[in-house]
């Protein structure tokens, strides 16, 4: 499963790691929806670290779509919230 960390690149993560990542991911979503800034920062850091350590980075010239995408490490809660809206990210 290819995961993209925005601003960093793509990482190939084995399926076996997904349950653990999912727990953090769901926690992160709850924190975004709850507006918990501190929790968001902590969980995002933990999730990114988990993806980085579990995965193998893809070469920069590889052209493969990512199945999962994560916000950049320094993204704010508001930025991520905006991205999760349907009309966010890419206009049109």
């Amino acid at each position: 499963m290819i995961v993209r960390i925005m601003g960093e690149g793509q990482v190939l993560v084995a399926e076996s790691h997904l349950p653990g990542l999912n727990r953090l991911d769901d926690e992160l979503l709850a924190e975004i929806e709850g507006g918990d800034h501190e929790g968001f920062r902590r969980t995002l850091g933990a999730l990114l670290d988990a993806v980085r350590s579990a995965g193998e980075p893809l070469p920069d010239d590889a052209l493969q779509p990512s199945e999962l995408i994560l916000p950049a490490a320094d993204a704010t809660l508001e930025e991520v919230k905006a991205m999760l809206k349907d009309d966010g990210l890419i206009p049109g």
Binding site: L29, L68, M83, L84
Partner: protein
Amino acid sequence: MSGVMKRMGMIFRAKANKALDRAEDPRETLDYSYQKQLELLQKVRRGVADVATSRKRLELQLNQLQGQSTKLEDQGRKALALGREDLAREALSRRAALQQQVTDLETQHQTLQGEEEKLTLAAQRLQAKVDAFRTRKETIKATYTAAQAQTRIGEAFSGISEEMGDVGMAIQRAEDKTAQLQARAGAIDELLASGALDDQSGMAKDDIAAELDRISGGTDVELELQRMKAELAGGSPQQAIEGGKTDESQQSRTQHKFDKQ
């Protein structure tokens, strides 16, 4: 999974697909058109078969009529041999009526045969066209698929797709950060120059250094005072200390005090 990772991925993909699928897929249209052509070809072929069946039926009828005609001719010949001219006349007149039918049917047969030939030719031409269309369709489809792949790659490099949206954002982020850092560096320089912000680089004295200076300065004053007092009391303070045995303990105590400092 419905977390952030999945949702962001889905949104990115949806955006990329939307850009791609804005025009309907011509491959589906081509396949549909080909299907329609095949149906048309099938109809023409069925028409050819129908005409051929009618022609065969006419041929059977003609054979039958010709058989009857031959029979009537034989009967007429026999009647004439038997001296029954009236019967012979009847047979021959019936045969003439049949002959008229045969002629009509032969005309019909010829028309049908002409039509059948035309239809067969049309079917053959249509078949050739459908075959050509199929080849063309496959070429177009392959070209379209290639173009689509190229579009995907193009999008990846022009910023529509996830890949580039990301890179674009990363660049934007980096630019913002640089600007922010530059602005901050400029502001710090100004604050330092105006004296509003203490320079922590060690060029200026900090609080602790200032306090130490103050303390050591104070000690010098105390020492100076002691020395002056001793001078006033008579002789150098060195002599006074060395001369008086009672002063030894005091000297060591003073020494100790200095060591501590």
